[in-house]
Structures are given as C-alpha cells and as structure tokens.
Symmetry: C2
C-alpha cells in the first residue's frame, strides 16, 4: 500500500489528518530544468543588458560587464558568485510591483538557449502530475526553493497551481515607503535570506509552522529539509529527482556546478528516500508544445 493511500485512510495506523498533510518541493531541477544555470540567472543576464545602459559604472565590474555584453561563457567561468552578483544588481532599485511585471513579461516570452523552448515549457510533466495527485488527496503543496520569491511567484500558479502565498524562497532586503501618498515596497541590493540547505527547514518552520510529511528535491540543497521531514513523528516520504537523462534533458549529479547531488545519492537508500531515475522512470519529461516552440537562438 502506497504512502498516500496509507496517510489518507482513516483506518490505517499511518493516517494523517488533512491539516498536517504538508508537502514541500524544491523548484529548480525538481519541478523544472536548471541547466545551463538556474533560469533566474538567465533572466538576470537578459535584464543586465537593459539596465547596463543606465548604469555605465557596471563597465568597471567584471561580472556585470560580462552580463551587459550577454557573454555567458565569461560569466560561467567566474562561477556562482558572479551569477549572484548579477542577480543582486538586476533585482534591486525597483518596486516589487514593477519587478513582477518585468519578470512576467520575460517568463512569457524568453526561450532556452539550447532548445528554443520557452522556459515555462520546461516544467516536468510527471512532477506536475504528482502535485495534482497530492492536492487531490488534501495535501497542501508548497515550493521551497533557493530561487527568489518575487521571480517564482510570477509563474508558480500558472505552471504548478501553487499560489503566491505557498511559495517560499530566497529574498532580499526591502524598504517600505510612501511616494505621493502611495505605499510601495522597493527591492534592495542585499540578500536577506538565502533559502538553501539547512536554511530550508528553518524557512519552512517560519512560513508554514509545521514539519512537512512529503518532500520533493533533486540536490544536496534539499538534504536538510528531507532529513527534517523524514525524522519527525509522522509517516513521511522524500523523493529525489536524479538527472540521468542526457538525451531528453541533462545528465548530472555529484560534480555539477548547479544542482549537485552527492551526499543525497550516498544516503538516499539507507534513509528510505526514493531516487527517481529520470531516464528510466519518466515517460515524458517536458510538456508537448504546439506552435509555441521557437527556433534556438
């Protein structure tokens, strides 16, 4: 008898009442793809090319200068710190309302550099079915991601059926002010909370106030939240997407710059966590698209 059947059957010893059926999912690499780097970084690079025109001083900063030229190879060479610098510079000095408009515009139109798909058409069909299945069984489904909350909220409801208040993630400092009598919130260029690794269980405790009983992840960034969820009093389950499919998607695990799965790969079996072998277990990866697939750029 499967996990969901057990926790939803009032006659089963493993029964969990609906209010405690909390499911949390990482986003990048778990619900949609994350290569060559997190798509939010690609948004940041696109945005940098616009913003650089108004910020001539960026020319003196190697990461921002490379972003302004759209030179992805030069940025990648500098690694995650350069990507974070670009993200921070391009995600500040703007109100959350204006930022949401611009991110929405991007997510509706921008396409992946390698396959020409729109990013929103790179969500995983089997995972979307899993979210639906859990919700149909009265689970409350949350995203708990290292991605930025203001960015993810522009597509999470449409892509996954996850409303903004169920999106937990990284966020920056912010400032409230009233301009001409109108209240607005401005994004500041400093990360206030980086939602990764051991910070994920803390973010869940702050936002949801309950220990989840279901976790979906794909990298060691999800290790602690899976550990926390699966060592409580309630029956629980953790599943990890293992990126084994270099043909249909991308193949990587222990050594990857983005989305490395190393300790999780070693310990999953012993902890009873399920590894999803993408190549073997999934009939489809991304949704069928019709007419909205553009040529690779």
């Amino acid at each position: 008898m499967g996990f969901v059947d057990r926790v939803t059957d009032p006659d089963n010893a493993d029964y969990v009442p609906p209010s405690d059926r909390i499911a949390v999912f990482d986003n990048d690499g778990t619900l949609w793809s994350e290569k060559p780097v997190y798509f939010q970084f690609l948004f940041a690079i696109d945005r940098a090319q616009e913003l650089a025109k108004k910020n001539p001083d960026w020319a003196s900063t190697p990461a921002l200068e490379a972003a302004a030229r759209g030179d992805f190879a030069a940025i990648e060479e500098r690694g995650v710190p350069a990507l974070l610098e670009i993200a921070t510079a391009t995600h500040s000095g703007v109100s959350i309302d204006d930022f949401a408009s611009e991110a929405t515009q991007w997510i509706e139109t921008a396409t992946h550099p390698q396959n020409g798909r729109r990013y929103r058409d790179m969500t995983y069909v089997p995972m979307r079915e899993l979210l639906d299945y859990l919700r149909a069984n009265s689970f409350k489904v949350f995203i708990v991601s290292g991605g930025g909350i203001d960015f993810m909220r522009t597509f999470a409801e449409k892509a996954y059926g996850v409303p903004p208040e169920n999106v937990i993630g990284t966020y920056g400092d912010a400032e409230y002010r009233a301009v001409d009598g109108r209240g607005q919130i401005m994004k500041s260029p400093k990360i206030a909370f980086l939602d990764d690794k051991a910070a994920k269980p803390i973010a869940i405790a702050r936002h949801i106030g309950k220990r989840p009983i279901f976790v979906g992840g794909n990298s060691d960034g999800d290790f602690e939240m899976a550990e926390w969820a699966t060592t409580g009093e309630s029956p629980s389950l953790a599943v990890f997407v293992h990126h084994t499919d270099g043909e249909r998607e991308f193949a990587y695990d222990r050594e990857s710059l983005i989305g490395a799965l190393d300790r999780g790969l070693d310990e999953a079996y012993g902890r009873g966590w399920i590894l999803i072998d993408m190549a073997r277990d999934w009939n489809a990866v991304w949704p069928e698209t019709s007419g909205n697939r553009s040529a690779p750029r």
Copy 2:
C-alpha cells in the same frame, strides 16, 4: 452597497477575483485583548519563573530577576525593553516542538490577572464574526502581528480558524541540527525579524506576495500595512478597533505603552479608514463563557 458586496459581485466595477481577496489582521488589540501588556509577555514572565531555577545567572539581570520573582510592577516600570529581554530569554534554547507544547499548555490553562478569564476567552466576538464573514466570501485571511509566530500558532487555528501557514509575525534566529539522526530546529536568543510598523508590509510581501485589500488593526503599528493596502490599484478597506470601552474592556489610545493609536486616529477619517468604537459599536466584546472561568488570582 458595502465593500464585501462590491468586490464579490462579478457585475460590479469593484469586483476582485477570489485569489486577490487577501485580508490581513493584526492580533493583539485587534483580535484579542492586549492589557496590561501583550499576553505573550505574561507567558514569558510565567515561563521565566520556571526557567530561573535552571539559570542562576539571571539574578544579576534586573529584568530577568524581576521576572523570576513574578514582580510585574517592577518589570512594567522598566518598559518594553525589559519585556523584550524577558521574552527573548524565555523563548530560546528550546526546540520549536517543545516550545509549542509548553505554549499550548499555558494558553489552555492560564488566566488573566485582572478578570480571571482564560486568555483564549478574551478574543473579540465581533472580529471573529468578521473573519468568518470574509472567509465565507472567499477571502484568504492572515494574521500579521508583532507577536511571535511560534506562540501565536498554538492558538490561532482554534481561536480564529487561521491555520499556522496564515500566521505572520515576529521571529527569532533559529538553528537546524540533527541530533541522533533526528532533525530539529532550535530557537536562538536573537530577534531576526520584528513584525511591526513599516516591517508589516514587507512581511506581507514576503509571505503572501500580494497587496492585501482588507486590513484590520488597532494601533499605529498597523499604520503602514493599512496605508499600503489602501493605496494600491484595487478597491480596499481598512478598519481600526478603537479601544473606547473601559467598562467592558480597556480604554486607551494615543498615550498607551501598548497599542498606542495616535497618527491613525488623526488620519483615519481623511483616508477613509473605519474606526470601530468598541463601546458604541459592539454588542458583545468577549465570548460568553460557561464553567471555564476561574477566580481572579
């Protein structure tokens, strides 16, 4: 035609779809009483008397020493900083699970020093009816309070029908760790986010990701969230509980140590915010209690 009627009528120009019907309420002084001080501080003082036995060094700190003796007058004299010091000391060095058990035990049994009511029987009947009314009209109702999230979550669902994930508030630093293979979150003695005044709109943006259209408050600590909510694109409404009823509850506003309403009182009319005159507008204040009211201590 009232606000709720307008925003829920698809044929009205002010119609707001259910997903955007976000309502936020302060807790202390808005949904339940807050005198002589926030009830969480009274919990902290009770808890200090227990914890002082294990912490002899508290004797050298005036606020903690007074708390250990349960000397409320001496604490009150030292004002809010002393109360915060006591709250911080008594809300740390414990796992969130153990803290929740202890806070739940207290809220179920402890009684108010002046009227002998259990604190949970000092919620406001008309406000609980308002929450029910909004939810019946497909509003999502959140608490946004200066109170601590771990404390409020022990009673918010039972008292107001607000589940833990809809409780936003002040929180401390925390640490995740695995002890004997079991993940747990420990509360640290430092406030990470104080959810008051201009921090409230920021907390709402982070947690909910939308500008509310309905705000309930009672003090200047709620001013900015009311301003933010009522200066957006959507129709909106803010209501402030004005504590005018010294006979049935407590009478205070501009000069109060706790829950001061000063700027809000000056500007409410001009901004179209509704002031609720507790003495005049409310038939009942607290719920009728039967058999669970103990003698004043």
